[in-house]
C-alpha cells in the first residue's frame, strides 16, 4: 500500500443505545472524523459504508445525513469484519489513484435486532443449535487438551481488556474498579469454559475513518504525525481436512497465519516491530490463539506469555489497548473501524491514559464469520 494515510477518525461510543438511531450515531461519528481531519463533507469524493443488522439501503440513506453531494456510495459487508473490509476498499481506491479523500463509515444497532428476534421465529436451520459462544468454547476445550491451557489464562486476557477499556471514553464496558481474573471466572457461564466476561457484549455504535493521499495529511494537519496505512490484506479460507462448513465458523487457523504473512511481507515489517495490536477478541480464547497465529509469540507459548503479562500495556506488545471487542464492544459494522480509531490515536500519541509509550507501528486484525480475515498495518511516518 503506497501513500495512503488515515486523515481523520471519529466514533460514537459503543453501548446499548436503544433510543439513538443509526443515522444519529453515524452522523456524529462521521462529523467527528471530518473535524479531526480538518475537512468538510464537500471534500469527500467517495464513501464506503458498512453495516450488518440494518436493512438493505441503510448505508446510502444514512449518508444523506452529511448532505447530498452525488458522490459514489458503496455498501460493504463482511460480517464482523465489515468495517475493516470497507476500510480496505477505501485504501485500495486511494492507492489506485481514483480518489484523494474517502469516507469509511460503519454503524449498527444490535439492540434493534434483539427486539426483533424476541418476537419469536422458529429456527428452520440445523446451524441455529451452534451459538458463536459454543463455537469458540470448542476452541478453548481443544486448547486445554493440547496445550494445558486453564480458564485462568482466558480470565487474565479478559481482565486486561476490561482494564484497558476503563481508560477508553468510547468503550462500552467501563469498569468502575480494576477487574481481576477471579471476577471474570466468577461471571455467569455462557458455554464452558467461557463466561459472560470472557465474551463481547451486544451493543450499538458507529465509527468513521477518513482515508486519503498521504501528502494531504501533512498539509491538512501539519501539527501532528502522519499515520500511514502500509499494508492491507483480506483472505478467505483454503480447504483442509477437518474444515467446518456449518455453524458460526471463524477460522481456520492457517487463514490468520497466511494473512499476517501477507501484511508482514507487504510492509517489510515483522511481529517484533509491532508496538500495539488489535485483534478480533469476540471471545478471550480468540485473542490467545491470535497471539500465536500473528507471530506475537511461538506456538504453544501463549499461556506463559500471558502469565508474564507480555500483552498488557507496558508489556512486550500491547494487545487490545482500547478494551478490545470484550470491553470496547462489538456492534458489528463499526467494530473494525474502532480498531483503526484506536490505532490512529495511539500512533499520533493522542491516546491519553492508555497511551502506549512511543508507539510507531500498529496492527489491526479482524475475522468475519463465514469466514474471512482482514489485517491492516498502520505506521507513524
Amino acid at each position: 500500500m503506497k501513500d495512503v494515510a488515515v486523515l481523520g477518525v471519529g466514533m460514537y461510543r459503543f453501548g446499548m443505545w436503544a433510543d439513538v438511531s443509526n443515522a444519529t450515531m453515524a452522523r456524529e461519528a462521521g462529523m467527528a472524523a471530518l473535524r479531526d481531519a480538518g475537512l468538510s463533507f464537500r471534500d469527500v469524493q467517495a464513501a464506503y459504508v458498512g453495516h450488518i443488522f440494518a436493512p438493505v439501503m441503510a448505508g446510502v440513506r444514512v449518508m444523506k445525513e452529511f448532505g447530498l453531494t452525488g458522490i459514489p456510495v458503496q455498501h460493504v459487508e463482511n460480517a464482523s469484519a465489515t468495517g475493516s473490509a470497507a476500510f480496505r476498499e477505501a485504501c485500495l481506491a486511494v492507492a489506485a489513484g481514483h480518489y484523494d479523500v474517502v469516507m469509511v463509515l460503519g454503524f449498527d444497532k444490535m439492540t434493534a435486532m434483539i427486539q426483533q428476534s424476541t418476537q419469536g421465529t422458529a429456527p428452520e436451520n440445523m446451524e441455529d443449535a451452534i451459538l458463536p459462544a459454543a463455537f469458540f468454547a470448542l476452541w478453548a476445550t481443544r486448547r486445554m487438551h493440547e496445550r494445558g491451557m486453564k480458564a485462568e489464562h482466558l480470565a487474565r486476557i479478559a481482565a486486561k481488556n476490561f482494564n484497558n477499556g476503563a481508560l477508553n471514553p468510547m468503550s462500552q464496558r467501563q469498569a468502575d474498579k480494576p477487574v481481576t481474573a477471579e471476577k471474570v471466572l466468577g461471571a455467569r457461564m455462557v458455554a464452558w469454559p467461557l463466561t459472560t466476561m470472557m465474551s463481547c457484549p451486544i451493543g450499538d455504535g458507529a465509527a468513521c475513518a477518513i482515508v486519503g493521499r498521504a501528502d494531504l495529511a501533512k498539509k491538512l494537519r501539519p501539527d501532528r504525525p502522519v499515520v500511514k496505512v502500509v499494508a492491507s490484506t483480506l483472505q478467505s479460507e483454503r480447504y483442509a481436512r477437518g474444515h467446518l462448513f456449518m455453524g458460526p465458523v471463524v477460522g481456520p487457523a492457517p487463514m490468520t497465519v497466511d494473512s499476517s504473512r501477507a501484511v508482514y511481507e507487504e510492509s517489510g515489517l515483522g511481529p517484533k516491530d509491532l508496538d500495539l495490536v488489535q485483534v478480533h477478541d469476540a471471545f478471550a480464547i480468540e485473542e490467545l490463539e491470535y497471539y500465536e497465529l500473528l507471530g506475537l509469540c511461538k506456538a504453544g507459548e501463549a499461556e506463559a506469555c500471558i502469565e508474564r503479562g507480555e500483552f498488557e500495556r507496558g508489556g512486550r506488545v500491547a494487545v487490545s489497548t482500547d478494551g478490545g471487542l470484550i470491553a470496547r464492544g462489538h456492534p458489528g459494522g463499526p467494530t473494525g473501524l474502532a480498531q483503526i480509531w484506536e490505532t490512529t490515536l495511539q500512533l499520533r500519541g493522542e491516546a491519553g491514559k492508555r497511551q502506549v509509550e512511543g508507539a510507531r507501528i500498529g496492527l489491526c486484525h479482524m475475522m468475519g464469520g463465514g469466514s474471512v480475515c482482514v489485517i491492516h498495518i498502520l505506521q507513524r511516518d
Binding site: N125, R142, A191, P193, M246
Partner: protein, 147 residues
C-alpha cells in the same frame, strides 16, 4: 426416549436420514469426490480442494459413529426446542467422522460425560411437535465402553 408414535421429520431436509426403525441410528448425508476421494458434510456439487475442484461427486451416507474432537456445554436453552431436556442447556461437539469430515452438532449428555477422543454415535433428538409430527435434529451421544 421418545415414543415413535408420530412421524419424524428433520428440522431441515438433506442433512441426515430418518430411519423407519427408531432403533436404527441416523446417518449423515454427505458427498464423496470421485476424483480425489475427499468426503464432505453437508452435501456439495463441486470438490472444495483447490487442487481438485472436480464436479464428479457422489452422494453418500456417513457415520453413524465418530470421534470427539472438542466439546462444550452451553448454559442456555436450545433455541427452538420445546424439549424439557434442553431447558438447562445442551452439549455441543465437533466430531470427526471415519470418512474424514469434521461435523459440529449438539451432544447428548452433561459436561462430565464428554472427553476428547471418545467414540460417539448419531441419534435423532426431538425438538418439538409440529402438526402431529416430531421435528428432529441429529446429535451425537457418547458410546458406552465396550459397546
Amino acid at each position: 426416549m421418545t415414543q415413535p408414535t408420530r412421524p419424524r421429520v428433520p428440522i431441515k431436509a438433506g442433512y441426515f436420514t430418518v430411519p423407519d426403525d427408531p432403533a436404527e441410528p441416523p446417518k449423515l448425508l454427505g458427498t464423496r469426490c470421485d476424483r480425489c476421494g475427499e468426503h464432505y458434510f453437508p452435501r456439495r456439487a463441486i470438490c472444495a480442494r483447490a487442487e481438485c475442484l472436480s464436479e464428479n461427486v457422489t452422494d453418500v451416507e456417513m457415520g453413524p459413529r465418530g470421534t470427539l474432537y472438542s466439546y462444550t456445554f452451553v448454559h442456555f436453552p436450545l433455541f427452538g426446542s420445546m424439549n424439557v431436556e434442553h431447558m438447562d442447556g445442551y452439549g455441543v461437539g465437533q466430531v470427526d467422522l471415519p470418512e474424514g469430515p469434521r461435523v459440529q452438532l449438539p451432544l447428548a449428555g452433561k459436561q462430565g460425560d464428554f472427553r476428547i477422543g471418545q467414540t460417539l454415535q448419531a441419534e435423532l433428538d426431538t425438538l418439538r411437535e409440529d402438526g402431529g409430527r416430531d421435528l428432529v435434529i441429529v446429535r451425537f451421544r457418547p458410546v458406552e465402553e465396550g459397546r
